[in-house]
């Protein structure tokens, strides 16, 4: 019997945490979705817990596709996605869903070459790389754009994402934008039928593959490349300049992008002189009419804070904040949320 007592004691101790915790009433708002903005969102929710101690906002990065599905199923109060939802997907949502843009980031071309020199590429070269038409590193189109860099006579191994991802969406959105062939053969989406290459899961998977395979080339988010000290290429923009991906060049791209009234915009290949061409925004997905009045009110308060104070925290974490004009437009839209 002693043993049994001891066991109930242990089980009791484990469960004792529960009532202890619930002693303080506190509202929890749940959100889920895109992985790319997860660090800045985590920062925002951490800081916002100090601004309004009565609520906690819990965000789990389950991927953009997951975010869209969970907000549709209403298992979370808000969703998040790196690509705007399509008209077909929006039609399946039970009520009107708003896209609230938050920050923007860039996709970069990373590679594994001896000495990892800085490379320059233009759009058509990228298309042909990912269509499998350029197969050697010393292809004249690559050497022509990179005078002074000695590119080896080595096979190119293309690495792409195997999972659905907003990073992929931005990448293929750009390739579709500049190439009719890509648009018709492969098209846009969070996952596509790749003509060539190896699949890898997540930014970390692509990073790992590229690091392991000499001659490999792949695309990852700028933050990922920077944090992991990967080499990445400058890309020729619509104005004809080779642009290094950075917060500044993404901010330029945002400033010159056309943003429609529903905020579902693509910002690839913008006209700006200093704009990096392969960038995209990320969105929070919020119902225009909140079901839970208390949570709805707190969510709107948070969104207002995010669009003002929150935006100023973006650059420190390598995200490009929205231009002020866009912030104002978003704030106007947040006012229309009913609860």
């Amino acid at each position: 019997m002693k043993l049994l007592n001891r066991c109930t004691l242990i089980a009791g101790a484990a469960l004792a945490f529960a009532p202890l915790n619930s002693a303080f009433a506190q509202m929890l708002i749940n959100g889920a979705g895109a992985t790319f903005p997860a660090p800045i969102y985590q920062k925002w929710f951490y800081e916002y817990a100090k601004v309004d101690p009565a609520i906690r906002i819990n965000y789990q990065s389950i991927g953009s596709g997951g975010g869209q599905q969970q907000i549709r199923a209403e298992t979370v109060t808000f969703g998040a996605s790196d690509g705007p939802m399509s008209d077909a997907d929006l039609a399946k949502v039970p009520r009107k869903l708003l896209h609230i843009p938050t920050v923007a980031g860039a996709d970069v071309l990373t590679y594994n070459l001896p000495g990892n020199p800085k490379l320059k590429v233009d759009g058509p070269t990228l298309v042909d790389l990912f269509l499998g038409k350029i197969t050697k590193w010393n292809d004249p189109r690559l050497t022509g754009q990179n005078p002074g860099v000695s590119l080896p006579d080595q096979d190119i191994v293309v690495v792409h994402r195997s999972d659905g991802s907003g990073t992929t969406y931005i990448w293929v959105d750009y390739l579709s934008n500049i190439s009719k062939e890509w648009e018709t053969r492969v098209g846009r989406g969070t996952s596509v039928n790749w003509p060539v290459g190896l699949g890898a899961k997540g930014n970390e998977g692509v990073t790992g593959q590229v690091k392991q395979l000499p001659g490999a080339v792949g695309y990852v988010e700028l933050i990922y490349a920077k944090q992991n000290k990967l080499p990445y290429a400058d890309v020729k923009n619509a104005a004809g300049h080779y642009i290094t991906p950075s917060i500044e060049s993404v901010t330029e791209a945002l400033a010159t992008a056309k943003i429609p009234d529903d905020f579902r915009f693509s910002m690839v290949n913008p006209p700006g002189e200093k704009a990096y061409p392969i960038a995209g925004a990320t969105w929070l997905l919020v119902y225009a009419e909140q079901q839970d009045a208390a949570k709805g009110r707190k969510l709107v308060e948070f969104l207002n804070w995010a669009m003002t104070k929150g935006e100023s925290m973006a650059a420190a974490l390598d995200y490009a904040p929205l231009p002020e004009a866009v912030q104002k437009r978003v704030l106007e839209r947040i006012k229309t949320i009913k609860y």
Binding site: L3, L15, A25, K43, Y46, N58, N203, Q227
Partner: protein
């Protein structure tokens, strides 16, 4: 005359001995490799903050997994609430009561359930509980038991469901080891059957049953996939079991796929703590079973 043959046999014998010895080492090698690798990569981030603080956002130093460690214990507690009564009573039924044809089906079902991948359990609980909530219709009045959405309840439930077939089968096995003479003696003394079962049979086999429970807990403690669909994760303290809750495997997963070096270090540390937790459970199993055998032999 037989010398060459004899030598060949001795050679064969030695060869096979070496071979089996190498295989035995190979079995234990991964455990040591995992342990030392985790120790090497994770020990640097295991400090006071790790056990006492909430996760910090990127760019801030410090931060820990206190909420995930407590969350894992809470989830295991809830899982035990679901898995232990059903599993043990099911095992008692199979061993003490039961009907041979029914028993065959119950055992078959338990064995099939044991082989179901954990992610399927997660999807089932997601579909049944998280998507729609759980309610009872009592005389026309709707009584909500679990609200729609991710919650600690759903996470505990999924782990508990996974434990049921494990506990049931081990409980049955150890209850069957109790000699029939005990039951017959008790019944012959006029003790009621329920009393025989509770006070003689179950009590005799108690250590074995607890061993089974602990092994089942160790087995589900490291589950990640079913928790993504149910417990969801939480970067803050869980204040209510109706809210999402953090768990070590979930936190490790999210940190491991993140871009930051510091997150990777914390993920290693989390993995180390999780492995230690499971090792502690397994060691207590060894201690319990050693007790059992020493008693039996004395």
């Amino acid at each position: 005359m037989t010398a060459p043959n004899h030598r060949r046999r001795r050679f064969k014998n030695a060869l096979m001995q070496v071979f089996t010895c190498v295989c035995a080492v190979l079995v234990t090698l991964p455990l040591f490799l995992v342990f030392f690798y985790l120790l090497k990569s994770g020990i640097g981030a295991v400090n006071g903050h790790f056990f006492t603080q909430l996760p910090a956002p990127p760019g801030e130093t410090g931060g820990g997994m206190a909420n995930a460690i407590v969350g894992t214990f809470e989830l295991l507690g809830l899982a035990a609430l679901v898995g232990v009564p059903v599993g043990v009573l099911g095992g008692v039924f199979l061993s003490e009561y039961g009907h041979s044809r029914l028993n065959w089906w119950v055992r078959f079902a338990a064995d099939v359930l044991n082989g179901v991948p954990s992610i399927i359990w997660g999807m089932v609980v997601y579909g049944l509980i998280v998507r729609h909530g759980l309610g009872l219709n009592l005389f026309g009045a709707q009584v909500g038991l679990i609200d729609r959405g991710y919650s600690a309840w759903a996470g505990g439930l999924v782990l508990g469901l996974m434990m049921i077939p494990l506990i049931m089968r081990t409980s049955e096995e150890v209850l069957r080891l109790v000699p029939n003479g005990y039951r017959e003696a008790a019944l012959a003394l006029g003790i009621a059957q329920w009393r025989t079962v509770v006070q003689i049979v179950v009590r005799t086999a108690l250590k074995g049953i607890i061993t089974g429970i602990l092994l089942a807990l160790a087995r589900v403690a490291g589950e990640t996939a079913p928790l993504i669909f149910t417990a969801f994760g939480n970067q803050f303290w869980n204040r209510s079991l109706a809210d999402p809750i953090a768990a070590l495997p979930l936190q490790i997963y999210y940190y491991a796929i993140g871009p930051y070096e510091d997150w990777h270090r914390q993920a290693w540390a989390g993995a180390l703590v999780l492995l230690l937790l499971i090792t502690v459970i397994n060691v207590s199993v060894r201690v319990l079973t050693r007790d059992r055998f020493s008693q039996r032999h004395s």
